[in-house]
Amino acid sequence: MSNQTDKATLASMHADHGTTVGQPFCDNAKLSTRNVDVYYADNQAIHDVSLDIGRNEVIALIGPSGCGKSTYLRCLNRMNDTIDICKVTGQLLLDGQNIYAKNQDPVLLRARVGMVFQKPNPFPKSIYDNVAYGPRIHGLTSNKAELDDLVEESLIKAGLFKEVKDRLEAPGTGLSGGQQQRLCIARTIAVQPEVILMDEPASALDPIATAIIEELISELRKNYTIVIVTHSMQQAARVSQRTAYFHLGKLIEVGETNQIFTNPKHELTEKYITGRFG
């Protein structure tokens, strides 16, 4: 397919669906994205997404699998840089600064925009070293006592400290799945990022561990801006203030979580919410 026809089809699709329904933009945006397209080699994975993410809000990205929500999330801290064939165009701003600017350093960006992954991925090190990893590489603390405090604080914030305080030197890989995921959250907040991206953080966990993580997200909201990708609508409803619905790489509808789940405006959103596909 040539580029021109590609654009033509795209245009016609837009004509079909119109632009995003709802309120994709907000004042006082922490992250602001406009007309984002993402390509994997010749395949376009994200089509023209524009969305703002407000300060200290939890925004949930939902949609059927393969809709591009994870891809979009990974654009926000340039994790897609690790994939050679991935190309991102459009404007993505963090506090008004272009994330993809040439002089924007991905290392600094990722220190500011942390990420928690779908599968818990603790390093094969001790619990302590897992949490201390970020502060150490970034040189955030100046002595051992400070680092100890930071590790403890992060573990407390992640709700893990009580369970592991006697075995900080035990390997992080020895914890249960839910504990591992909280360890990964502790590891992320030890760098004290401004935004935390969560890619289906509870999908590999049992219901009890999931509940603990969800509680934790509500707690973290006080200090951080959180973008969470989830395939569980209940989870989105429980933890987020705003919800964005993605479909086939396009952002269909954005709105207050309550409104999205009770009164979706777009036909596709409604179909998804009512479980006619997913």
Binding site: N77, M79, T82, D84, V107, L108, L109, R110, A111, R112, G114, M115, V116, F117, K119, N121, P122, F123, P124, K125, Y133, G134, I137, H138, C184, R187, T188, V191
Partner: protein, 466 residues
């Protein structure tokens, strides 16, 4: 009858059995098929006639072959025994070594027996008699058995025989035997080095060999010369081997590891697709070529280099051999490291990058520690390779058994000594040749331990991320 003639007849017989066996069920098979013509699905339950043929052929072939093999193994000792008895009975005494005598007898030519000791001729005639009797007996026994088994097998063939299952079981056993050859090889290695080593240690005490610091296997021709008795203290060889292997690993491990990291984590796919085959070429170059290069180009170069800074370097320095050996092992280390590093899950990389670590921080602080057991296993395998490497050291390291750890001096290694001791014209039983097997035993045990540990560590490591 010669072996090949017997084998040929056996094959003919097997072919005959095949056709007979197949023929025997063929008529019934066709009839059954006709009867079930109404329902094609029913045909499935009948075994194809060819399988009956196969089973019949196996009956005529396998027992005969087994017996033939046994006879082949036992006939020579029996003939020797008979010959000895005959010589004792007819009072023929020999002064020389019996094995040598036997060898002479075997090589005697019927047409040139004039002028040879008549006793010898007598023994030779007896030997020929025994041989022809043995040969005839062998042919008769084997062929009779084969015919008997063919008849028996064909009798057993009926339509109800689960022929396909039998045949497949037989094939499976053959496959298993093929797989067991590896075990047989190991047993062969162990036995061959162990037996000769035990004989060696009968002459030279183990302690002298393991802890002696003097290695001079050459026995002087006249007994009153200096060094008339050979000494077999292997410590200089062990130290020399370790020294050269150490130099090789110091070169190969960092370079190989860094190459693997660069190629898998940094290089563009274009560069990688060019670089990997080049490294493979480096791995494919025969060691004799490396040896030639080390001896003729690298060693003189290092010697000159050393002289230019005022160091005296031996022309067969351990450094030159170790250096070239190290380069040779780079691709080996690099491909092992590549394997273990790419086995670290992608999520580990993302976890680190997602926290804002740079690539090198991720590699040094997460990937390498995570891959460490695998890397250690790889280094052990590389060490085992370096220790067992022969041609480079034979050509570029010397024969001088110096006890030194200075890489600028000449040292000798276990493998060099094995080659030197065994490539001259030696009688097989001297302590000198036996010493080579004792060294071989040491070499085999050392590399065995290294390999087993390394393979175990690497396997455990892989299971962790599977």
């Amino acid at each position: 009858m010669t072996i090949s003639a017997i084998l040929f007849l056996l094959v003919l017989l097997a072919a005959f059995s095949f056709f007979m066996g197949r023929q025997k069920v063929h008529a019934v098979y066709l009839k059954q098929r006709q009867n079930s013509d109404l329902d094609v699905r029913l045909r499935v339950k009948f075994t194809l006639p060819k399988y009956f043929g196969y089973v019949a052929a196996l009956w005529s072939l396998v027992p005969a072959l087994l017996v033939l093999m046994v006879i082949e193994i036992v006939d020579e000792p029996i003939i020797t025994k008979q010959l000895t008895n005959y010589m004792v009975q007819s009072n023929i005494n020999i002064e020389e070594n019996f094995d040598l005598y036997l060898n002479e007898i075997q090589n005697l030519d019927v047409n040139h027996i004039e002028g040879i000791d008549p006793a010898k001729v007598k023994v030779f005639e007896k030997f020929s008699d025994l041989n022809s009797i043995a040969s005839t007996a062998k042919s008769v026994v084997v062929l009779a058995l084969a015919i008997l088994m063919t008849v028996f097998g064909l009798k057993k063939i009926t339509v109800d025989l689960p022929a396909r299952q039998y045949f497949e079981k037989a094939i499976e056993i053959i496959l298993l035997l093929a797989a067991s050859i590896a075990v047989l090889t190991t047993v062969g290695i162990v036995l061959s080095v162990l037996f000769e080593s035990i004989r060696f240690f009968g002459e030279i005490p183990v302690v002298d060999f393991m802890f002696g610091t003097q290695w001079s296997p050459q026995t002087a021709i006249r007994p009153d010369q200096v060094g008339s008795s050979a000494t077999f203290g292997a410590v200089p060889l062990f130290i020399g081997t370790m020294l050269i292997s150490f130099v090789a690993l110091v070169v190969a491990v960092p370079l190989g590891l860094m190459s693997a990291i660069f190629l898998s984590e940094y290089a563009s796919s274009k560069f990688r697709s060019f670089a990997k085959p080049v490294l493979e070429i480096l791995a494919g170059i025969p060691t004799v070529v490396y040896g030639f290069f080390a001896a003729l180009t690298v060693a003189p170069f290092i010697r000159q280099l050393g002289e230019s800074v005022g160091l005296s370097v031996a022309s067969e320095s351990a450094l030159a051999a170790g250096l070239v050996m190290g380069i040779m092992i780079i691709p080996f280390v690099s491909s092992l490291a590549d394997d273990v590093i790419s086995a670290v899950p992608q999520s580990m990389r993302e976890g680190s990058l997602g926290l804002g670590a740079t690539k090198s921080e991720t590699i040094i602080k997460v990937l390498i520690p995570a891959a460490l057991p695998g890397i250690v296993g790889g280094v052990l395998l590389a060490a085992s390779r370096a220790i067992g490497e022969t041609m480079i050291v034979v050509m570029a390291a010397g024969l001088a058994a110096n006890l030194t750890v200075n890489p600028l001096n000449a040292v000798t290694t276990v493998t060099v000594q094995i080659v030197t001791l065994l490539t001259g014209d030696q009688e097989f039983d001297s302590a000198k040749t036996l010493a080579a097997f004792a060294l071989g035993l040491m070499l085999f045990l050392t590399t065995l331990v290294l390999n087993v540990i390394a393979l175990y560590v690497v396997r455990k490591y892989r299971e962790q991320y599977d």
